[in-house]
Amino acid sequence: MKETPLSNCERRFLLRAIEEKKRLDGRQTYDYRNIKISFGTDYGCCIVELGKTRVLGQVSCELVSPKLNRATEGILFFNLELSQMAAPAFEPGRQSDLLVKLNRLLERCLRNSKCIDTESLCVVAGEKVWQIRVDLHLLNHDGNIIDAASIAAIVALCHFRRPDVSVQGDEVTLYAPEERDPVPLSIHHMPICVSFAFFQQGTYLLVDPNEREERVMDGLLVIAMNKHREICTIQSSGGIMLLKDQVLRCSKIAGVKVAEITELIQKALDNDQKVRKEGGKFGFAESIANQRITAFKMEKAPVDTSDVEERAEEIIAEAEPPSEVVSKPVLWTPGTAQIGEGVENSWGDLEDSEPEDEDEGGSDEAIILDSIKMGTGLEVSNTGSQDAPIVLSDSEEEEMIILEPDKNPKKIRTQTISAKPEKASSKKPVKKRKKKRAAN
């Protein structure tokens, strides 16, 4: 689905509002939207909400062999996905320019700033290291994806616990979470991106632009910083010329914002830790606001399944028995059999050059046994009418099909004798037998 274009009057309205220092959501120029962080039941899973923008973060780990030139370093891998859920214009499985840009920025912010001690992820130098994979899914796009994604990534990394390993000689032991408590990653600092949108060639500046503001902005400046006010990444896009003091002012604002966000993250992490330790309820179910009218919860509901057996029996008893449980298999040649009255199988014909010989050989081994009853009844009712075998073969459940020829040699003989003259006219096994019986 294509994105709805922004109309000219809408664009003009937004720009006029920005000139008057007004924002549509009632924020001031330097205000951030509300940040909400919630954690899942498993480690390393979080959802970060920045206003209406929502990002799901999940960290996973795997033991892999390291890169050749970095034998003692673990591998960090970031993957941001723009799901179609977030906005209709995002197509699944396409690497758009925006996606590439965001992924690159994330890598620079988190990997190149060395916020995670990759050497502590080494298990056996040159052989086994941990690969930490950070998957980020954008769930709802309302502007400023990069800030939300960087917060989600660092929160998920802080929340993550990897399984403990021990090395004794050449042996590497991986401990399940029940055996040994999983260990957290060692994180040096927490870089957080702060975005600044510029309008009218840098005359006006807004912090944390929302989707509408992003669509009318001229340029974007992203500063990644940690709480020690160290700049980790700085990127300006959109092709606007910024003055030196503008950049300095932005970095000052970023410093304040990062301090606030870091504090919030720490609080959220501590809170989750406490709840887990006390054995309270945690996970996304707890983060659903109960007072909201759109949310609803139901406690564990017992379902009575005592009458299930009776009902099942009833249904089975009521149901008509399947018209033909198993059609009689016919063994044409060793390894080639036919079930049902399908199209004439020509496999046997192809194998042998002479059809007459094939027929003899084929019917020698063609054992048709409808059931045990049938087998025993055959000697008595050899003179039976055409209906008799049909009735017998319909006795469904206890029917047994035996493909071994040695069980009933008598029948084979009768068949071989009778099959010969009829074979030419009809090759269908069922018909053949009926005719044979009539002849008998």
Partner: protein, 231 residues
């Protein structure tokens, strides 16, 4: 309301202490939580959680256009890594179920897209996907001939039936059966199974799923009643 009262009395008799009683995990649902999609819902069954977003009826690509009905698309995204064969197969099962209930003929030459994101998987994933999809479709206001729900049953090695199994129970189970049932008369819309089971066990599971679906539909009704209540 009458129907509601009837179900209530049924539940009253059901909860009597007789026979083995299975239970569903706790359910939670939040609708309309995303601003961009036309309809969205997050559905939780125990620790299993799915987020669903629905776009539609909306513009459709010419290549996917169907002249007499809406094109239904289902996208299921795993939490870790890229979607694989398992996701594709689930997408198809969900799409077939939705196609059976969505009145696509009312919106010819449009697309209805359901995007499902796995938030956490702790067993009965497909059932939870189906429930989330249904709630999101309801939120988007897509016309449907009936509601639908998913119920998963697991059979232990000794033949004990477990409803809404957790990941651990699914792993230990001899057979896992998932059914999609419609909301009018609990008819079967879709069934997918894994493992060995007998004829009568299949019927037992189906009967149990039908009993469980009553609870799911009651949950749907109550949550929608709450949503459209004035208070």
């Amino acid at each position: 309301m009458q129907a509601d009262a009837k179900i209530r009395t049924e539940v009253g008799t059901e909860s009597g202490p007789r026979g083995p009683v299975c239970s569903l995990r706790h359910f939670a649902c939040e609708q309309n939580l995303l601003s961009r999609p036309d309809g969205s819902a997050s559905f939780l069954q125990g620790d299993t959680s799915i987020l669903a977003g629905v776009y539609g009826p909306a513009e459709v690509k010419v290549s996917k256009e169907i002249f007499n009905k809406a094109t239904l698309e289902v996208i299921l995204r795993p939490k870790i890594g890229l979607p694989g064969v398992a996701e594709k197969s689930r997408e198809r099962l969900i799409r077939n179920t939705c196609e059976a209930v969505v009145l696509g003929a009312l919106h010819p030459r449009t697309s209805i897209t359901i995007v499902l994101q796995v938030i956490s998987d702790a067993g009965s994933l497909l059932a939870c996907c189906l429930n989330a999809a249904c709630m999101a479709l309801v939120d988007a206001g897509v016309p449907m001939r009936a509601l639908f729900c998913g119920v998963t049953c697991a059979l232990d090695s000794d033949g004990t039936l477990v409803l809404d199994p957790t990941a651990k129970q699914e792993k230990e189970a001899r057979a896992v059966l998932t059914f999609a049932l419609d909301g009018v008369d609990q008819k079967l819309l879709m069934s997918t199974t894994k493992g060995l089971y007998s004829d009568s066990e299949l019927q037992q599971c189906l009967a149990a799923a039908q009993a469980a679906s009553q609870h799911v539909f009651r949950f749907y009704r109550e949550s929608l009643q709450r949503r459209y209540s004035k208070s």
